[in-house]
């Protein structure tokens, strides 16, 4: 990847507020590096194309992720996880977006596993997620359709009661616009299953699970955007028209520069949200992060296609897989309108503090 988050983050860290962590730790960076190397070597465009052609049952990449320890990234070490924290996982999520990873890493590792880890009596299940024996897929009405590649995966039903519903057998999947996602309708989940939490505990766990879903999806969108910008930049450096590479035309340069600027502005918003999960105002920060990431990805997709000309309109050049993933993820864990309404509400109905003391410290 050409745009390293690190350089930007270290600048940001110089002016960070008291509780805002913009700069990744050494551990986080090392794990990101490992995840990046593994993902870019294994989840190549060729591999994705083969999967699209061969259907989802072809060569599931989950076991490789398990070997890397990624499903347990946020799970405590006592339950067999890596015991790392959310900002670090945001970096991994970005890497998974960069390669358009089809596996439900965000759902399982980002949302479900840490919830199980926090629930009394469910550490054994969290441990099984870490070893790859089970893959628990979270579901919440905020996502009327959710990605479930494998119908034998149990579903973690979030809400004011948290339940573990055994495999949704017999339920036909739905095709997504993204040929690498396999959808199920939330409404079709049957009752039953074991109740894992109720009342206030369930509500609180659900709320933070949703926040994680939104912020890691935002990070994934940034990765998708970076990949689309890289692809378009590479193409602009090769494709010639009128005897020159199209990247030498200002119209193309400006488009790509615009996409890049938007991406770099979105990054610290997403990291700040990931760093502040669990705090009172996290909802607001997550909303801002999701909006910034959606806008980045939609613009990056539009520009990447435009730069590719008719090539960008084919199913044969793999760019479309990134563009369609971005489109699908934009609506997950709250779409743009949903999050914008939260910001609006905080600002106009809840009298969000915006004075000098609030603006640049730990608010807003």
């Amino acid at each position: 990847m050409k745009y390293s988050a690190t350089s930007l983050l270290s600048v940001a860290s110089a002016c960070r507020g008291p509780d805002v962590q913009f700069s990744p730790t050494q551990d986080q960076l090392e794990l990101r590096e490992a995840a990046r190397n593994y993902l870019r070597a294994s989840c190549t465009a060729k591999y994705l194309t083969r999967r699209v052609a061969g259907g989802p049952e072809v060569a599931d990449g989950w076991s490789g992720l398990v070997e890397m320890g990624l499903p347990g990234y946020l799970v405590s070490t006592t339950a067999g996880g890596l015991g790392m924290d959310a900002p670090g996982f945001a970096l991994v999520a970005e890497e998974s977006g960069y390669v358009a990873l089809p596996e439900p890493l965000i759902e399982v590792a980002g949302v479900a596993a840490p919830l199980l880890d926090q629930l009394a009596g469910q550490q054994a299940l969290a441990a099984e997620v870490c070893t790859g024996r089970v893959r628990v897929i979270p579901a919440h009405p905020l996502n009327p359709f959710f990605n479930q590649a494998d119908p034998t995966d149990p579903v973690l039903l979030l809400g004011d009661e948290i339940r573990l519903v055994e495999p949704l057998s017999g339920l036909a999947g739905l095709d997504s616009i993204d040929p690498l996602r396999n959808l199920r309708r939330f409404d079709a989940i049957q009752g039953g299953g074991a109740v894992l939490a109720r009342g206030d505990e369930a509500v609180a766990l659900t709320q933070s699970a949703i926040q994680r879903g939104a912020v890691f999806t935002a990070a994934e969108l940034l990765g998708l955007s970076a990949a689309m910008i890289d692809k378009a930049t590479a193409y602009a450096g090769e494709r010639k028209q009128f005897g020159k590479v199209i990247g030498s035309y200002q119209a193309i340069k400006h488009h790509l520069a615009n996409a890049f600027v938007r991406l770099e502005f979105a990054r610290p918003v997403v990291y700040r949200a990931a760093a502040c999960l669990g705090q009172d105002a996290a909802d607001l920060w997550v909303a801002q992060a999701k909006i910034a990431a959606i806008d980045t990805a939609i613009e990056a997709a539009e520009i990447a296609i435009q730069v590719h000309g008719a090539m960008g309109y084919t199913f044969e050049v793999e760019l479309h897989l990134w563009m369609k993933r971005a489109w699908a993820l934009a609506g997950l864990w709250g779409d743009r309108n949903h999050h914008l309404a939260r910001v609006e509400n905080a600002l106009l109905s809840k009298n969000l503090a915006t004075g000098p003391a609030a603006t640049f410290c730990n608010h807003g």
Binding site: D175, S176, Q241, E302, Q306, H320, M323
Partner: protein, 398 residues
């Protein structure tokens, strides 16, 4: 510019509306609203039959002059025709390239023989056409084409060899108009010829290219010494560029009115969905719908202005030049709006395997609007150079 319709016009409206109501039934009922951009693969056989039914009703070439087999209708009547066609949900026309581009260019630039040979096939809906301009190395820089045409004096025909790409409907069309180099030493706009080439010959191979939508409408076309009789060269060798450009002028002709009616149908459909699923409660969606409506009106008035100026010769003027840039951006935003109105449902395909809903196809197809027929970047260059008189972009070829 006339803004009203006379009573004769209105009588004509009743005629076409009545005919459509009587004929878009039975075997054609299910192809209503189908086959538009992004959906061209749908019901092709039925739409071919429909083209012939239209022909039998005398509805092809209504704007062509009568001595060319058309009906010589006034601009107003053509507007009405397109309005009523779209209102009735008339399916995407499979003969639009023949009717809208080949017919007009043969009427203005073709020989008598060419007119007699090719216009009837278009008017009867029996011969479909495709456009063989673009090549792998010649997209925006169309003049960079390398397909070669070699004249054989003994056989009095041309032998054409090259690789065309993005050729819409090549897999269905009987004929293709091909831009090829008649002078091997030439470069750029010089030394080109405009050929009418029969697709059914062993020397031509067509490979469909899969599009974003998972379906195929355009193709690669490989010509390996394809034969083209000498009387099928339009104009003279060396005149190809001039003819090719004149033809592109017709793309901005009266058919844009039909296109706008289709846009109106799409906007109506999006508003219907928004009403049904409650998206109209969202103030941003409401405003974007209102903006879409305004944009459509702006396009319509611009089209009326363009057409009432200089219609038949298809010449470029300022009003025509700005139209593609405007509608392509408007339409791409309409695609985005459709998805935002649908919300989470936007992600779910209509059926397996990978069968998209009309609004999903709309969203995907509108990604191409800013690319084909001259990309937005090229459109802006043309506007800046020809309308504002700024210096030309530096060019290496030509």
């Amino acid at each position: 510019m006339k803004l009203g319709f006379t009573s004769t016009d209105e009588a004509f409206r009743d005629e076409i509306a009545g005919w459509l109501a009587e004929h878009l039934l039975g075997e054609f009922e299910h192809i209503r609203y189908r086959g538009g951009p992004g959906d061209e693969h749908a019901y092709f056989r039925e739409r071919r039959a429909w083209e012939q039914a239209m022909a039998a009703g005398g509805w092809i070439g209504v704007g062509w002059p009568e001595d060319m087999g058309g009906r010589g209708y006034s601009l107003e009547q053509q507007v009405i025709f397109h309005e009523e066609y779209a209102r009735a949900g008339g399916p995407g026309r499979v003969g639009h390239i023949g009717e809208g581009l080949v017919g007009p260019i043969l009427i203005t630039h073709g020989s008598r023989w060419q007119q007699q040979r090719f216009l009837p096939g278009i008017l009867s809906g029996e011969e479909l056409w495709c456009q063989g301009y673009s090549e792998p190395g010649a997209g925006s820089d169309l003049s960079n084409i390398s397909t070669r045409a070699v004249y054989d004096a003994g056989k009095d025909n041309w032998s054409i060899t090259g690789h065309k790409t993005w050729t819409s409907l090549a897999h269905e069309a009987e004929w293709c108009f091909v831009l090829a180099r008649t002078d091997p030493a030439s470069r750029g706009r010089h030394g080109l010829g405009f050929f009418l080439v029969e697709m059914q010959q062993r020397a031509i191979t067509v490979r469909p290219i899969m599009q974003l939508t998972g379906t195929s409408e355009f193709n690669e076309v490989f010509l390996d010494q394809a034969i083209c009789a000498s009387e099928q060269l339009v104009g003279e060798p060396g005149q190809g560029w001039e003819i090719a450009m004149a033809l592109l002028g017709f793309e901005r002709g009266v058919s844009t009115l039909g296109q706008q009616m289709m846009f109106q149908n799409q906007l109506n459909q999006i508003i219907t969905v928004a009403r049904r699923n409650g998206a109209t409660a969202d103030s941003q969606i409401r405003q974007r719908l209102a903006q879409a409506h305004i944009g459509l009106k702006i396009m319509r008035y611009n089209a009326m202005r363009t057409l009432s100026g200089n219609m038949v010769d298809g010449s470029l003027n300022r009003a025509a030049m700005i139209s593609k840039l405007y509608w392509s951006i408007w339409h791409r935003e309409l695609g985005n709006l459709a998805m935002d109105v649908l919300g989470p449902e936007a992600e779910v395909a209509a059926a397996q395997p990978y069968e998209l809903t009309p609004l999903q196809s709309l969203f995907l197809f509108t990604r191409a609007d800013t690319i084909y027929g001259g990309t937005n970047q090229i459109q802006r260059n043309i506007i800046a150079e020809r309308s504002l008189g700024l210096p030309r972009e530096p060019r290496m070829t030509g």
